[in-house]
């Protein structure tokens, strides 16, 4: 049986499930909005004899799971047992609740660890946090070309960074993930923006930690989907279209980007493998830029990125591939 942890809205999961059905493989999908409870864990005769959780009240013995795909989301087990008052003192209550929560967190972390180490598995909940700054550091150690990057809080550091010769123009983008929300029918979100000299001059002396990066002139972008040592890449030509020069997520629907399959040079493919092993992810989407002079510049990795946007234009059948891996 295949276990999948995903999100209610995720369309890629639905496609993979169609393939699993087609292959005649039974599966269980848990979404972030399903109610999960810990039920029982037992060691007997020096081994794990049972590990049972319930999903919306239905028991699932994880020992019987053969393969596991962490697509996205989390196990929603928050409220278990922790209701009602333990004492009349709120401080005692708070601490007791915290104690109980930590007890449960410990065993639930084991659930994740058990699934990702004992099963044929794709991706991992415990490694899926998008540690962009750390990943940037690991990428440098893996030998990737990287854009010069500054996360600073003071104007003087930014000025020095910007003045350094040969840097060209700067951009700013989020240190952490993309962020967006809607209010009053208006959508607020962070995008990648150019930082002009005048922005620096007019800016405050001290500011909130902000990321700056040299703008890398791209010939095209690369989206690289990595899964258990296999690499599927797609070139995205967005610059034919001046409007999307800084971020292709500013979609221009009239003249869409060109998305075509691409084979990474062997040396770059090797770096991808080293990098993914180092950050302990067996699946993820990497973003790179290829410059006009043929350099491959690493930008970021997204552990739970959308792979449908690579699979469809390139005819890679990644959904089928994932289902095959889970069926093994």
């Amino acid at each position: 049986m295949v276990l999948i942890l995903s999100e209610h809205q995720d369309a890629s999961t639905v496609e993979v499930l169609k393939w699993l059905n087609h292959f005649g493989i039974t599966w269980i999908r848990i979404n972030e909005d399903d109610e999960v409870r810990f039920d029982c864990l037992e060691f007997a005769g020096n081994q794990l004899a049972g590990l049972v959780i319930t999903i919306n009240g239905k028991p699932l013995n994880l020992v019987e799971v053969k393969s596991y795909w962490y697509r996205r989301g989390w196990l929603h087990y928050g409220a278990q047992y922790i209701s009602g008052k333990i004492s009349n003192h709120s401080l005692v209550n708070e601490n007791m609740h915290q104690y109980l929560q930590e007890e449960l967190d410990n065993v639930m972390e084991f659930v994740h660890r058990y699934l990702q180490s004992e099963k044929q598995c794709i991706n991992s909940y415990l490694s899926a946090k998008n540690n962009k700054t750390y990943y940037h550091y690991v990428a440098s150690k893996a030998g990737f070309d990287l854009p010069d990057t500054l996360i600073a809080t003071q104007k003087k550091d930014l000025e020095r960074f910007s003045d350094e010769s040969g840097r060209g123009s700067l951009i700013t983008k989020s240190i952490n993930e993309m962020f967006s929300f809607t209010h009053d029918g208006k959508c607020y979100r962070n995008l990648t923006n150019e930082v002009r000299q005048s922005d620096i001059q007019e800016g405050n002396k001290v500011f909130y930690p902000t990321l700056f990066q040299t703008y890398v002139e791209k010939f095209f972008e690369l989206r690289v989907f990595y899964i258990l040592g296999e690499i599927y890449s797609m070139a995205i030509f967005s610059q034919l279209n001046a409007k999307t020069q800084f971020d292709f997520r500013n979609y221009d629907h009239e003249y869409s980007n060109r998305n075509v399959p691409f084979i990474l040079p062997a040396s770059i493919a090797q770096k991808v493998k080293v990098f993914m092993a180092e950050i302990d992810l067996n699946c993820g989407s990497l973003d790179m830029i290829v410059t006009a002079d043929g350099r491959f510049v690493f930008l970021e990795v997204n552990p739970v990125g959308q792979f449908g946007m690579v699979s469809n234009p390139c005819n890679y059948y990644l959904e089928k591939r994932i289902a095959e891996i889970l069926s093994q």
């Binding site: 087609h22 070139a235 030509f237 003249y255 399959p261 691409f262 290829v290 234009p313």
Partner: protein, 357 residues
């Protein structure tokens, strides 16, 4: 490393050579363009040449000028791009693999008076992985009957349903479509007008037709407006029949067929399961007849954007014959009205198509 800049076709643009001219299909932008064969061979060779080098081998100035205007056209429509020579080979062609997670991918179900076997049929189709359903109500269709059918579909959680029903002045079709959001299209037959309305944020088309499109003899027409410039379609067409591959039909009497217009029955839904019908030796006989095997089509530049029909053929005795209802001639590159072609008159009568117009 060399700094030579070569031109390359975006591999998302699909080339097809016909006997007289060729086609560049651009699925990512939903377009296609016919081009001369001479240009086709220059692009298809992928010789890693620069535009200048290619122009230099032209025989004379006039030829060079023409080729230059072709290059301008290709660049302007972003069909080719310029690239460093050392990266050119990393732009690999698309693999034309085709597969769907389904034993049966699309079904035509004709529905009679009581819709007796409908639930069971839909449930079986779901298990076979069927994704697209064409439901055709062959009898009168009062609102109560229609609601009954739609509730059955809802119960089976179908997601792509195309419905054909007879016109009924009392039905509020727009309200119905709003309620049943899984409907992809609803075609109202024998309506007083011809009209098309897009609903549910364009996810459903409500079509009124003065014809009785439930009569399957209307099917099988080949025309440019039905062309499908799409990567999946292109890939499927290289190996399979783009109409009949993984298709099943259950006619109004419960007979299981390849399509309602093909006479052969593989049993009745009352007696056998769909799976049993599919397992019969001849059930899949059309599935792998592709355009490269079909007379005339194999010389046509449109063959991988085109649809197909195996029920109405120019030569009914030859299963590889060109579709009867195609008026295109790939040797002269001209369209004519197929139904007025005197050579087709007898066959049209033989198929009984003349009486429905």
């Amino acid at each position: 490393m060399s700094d030579k800049i070569v031109f390359r076709l975006f591999s998302s643009c699909l080339l097809t050579a016909g006997s007289t001219r060729a086609l560049i299909c651009d699925p990512q932008r939903g377009n296609y363009y016919t081009i001369p064969l001479s240009l086709y061979s220059i692009i298809a060779e992928q010789k890693k040449a620069s535009i200048e080098e290619t122009l230099a081998i032209c025989e004379d100035q006039e030829e060079a000028e023409i080729l230059k205007s072709y290059f301008n056209f290709l660049l302007e429509h972003e069909l080719i791009f310029l690239c460093r020579e050392d990266l050119a080979d990393n732009f690999t062609p698309i693999k034309y693999e085709f597969d769907v997670p389904a034993i049966i991918a699309n079904a035509i179900v004709q529905i009679g008076k009581k819709a007796e076997y409908l639930v069971d049929t839909l449930a079986q189709l779901k298990l076979l992985g069927c994704q697209a359903f064409e439901l055709v109500v062959m009898t009168d269709c009062p609102l109560s009957f229609l609601s009954h059918i739609l509730e059955l579909c809802k119960g089976q959680e179908l997601d792509e349903v195309n419905l054909y029903i007879p016109f009924n002045p009392e039905t509020d079709y727009e309200a119905l479509i709003e309620e049943y959001c899984f409907l992809s299209s609803v075609t109202i037959c024998n309506a007083p007008t011809n009209e098309e309305i897009f609903l549910n944020g364009d996810s459903c088309t409500l079509r009124f037709s003065t014809k009785d499109l439930r009569d399957h003899r209307h099917c099988g027409i080949i025309a440019e407006k039905y062309f499908i410039p799409d990567l999946v379609h292109h890939s499927e067409s290289l190996q399979h029949n783009t109409c009949l591959n993984r298709k099943i039909a259950i006619d109004v009497n419960g007979n299981i067929k390849n399509c309602p217009s093909l006479n052969e029955s593989f049993g009745n839904i009352k007696d056998i399961t769909l799976e049993e019908a599919i397992c019969q030796p001849h059930f899949k006989k059309y599935w792998n007849i592709n355009k490269d095997q079909i007379e005339v089509c194999k010389d046509c530049e449109f063959r991988h954007v085109c649809t197909d029909c195996r029920a109405y053929l120019e030569d009914p005795s030859n299963v590889y014959s060109k579709p009867l209802k195609c008026g295109y001639d790939p040797y002269t590159c001209t369209w004519e009205d197929w139904s007025k072609n005197p050579l087709k008159e007898n066959i049209i009568i033989q198929y009984g198509i003349h009486s429905i117009e």
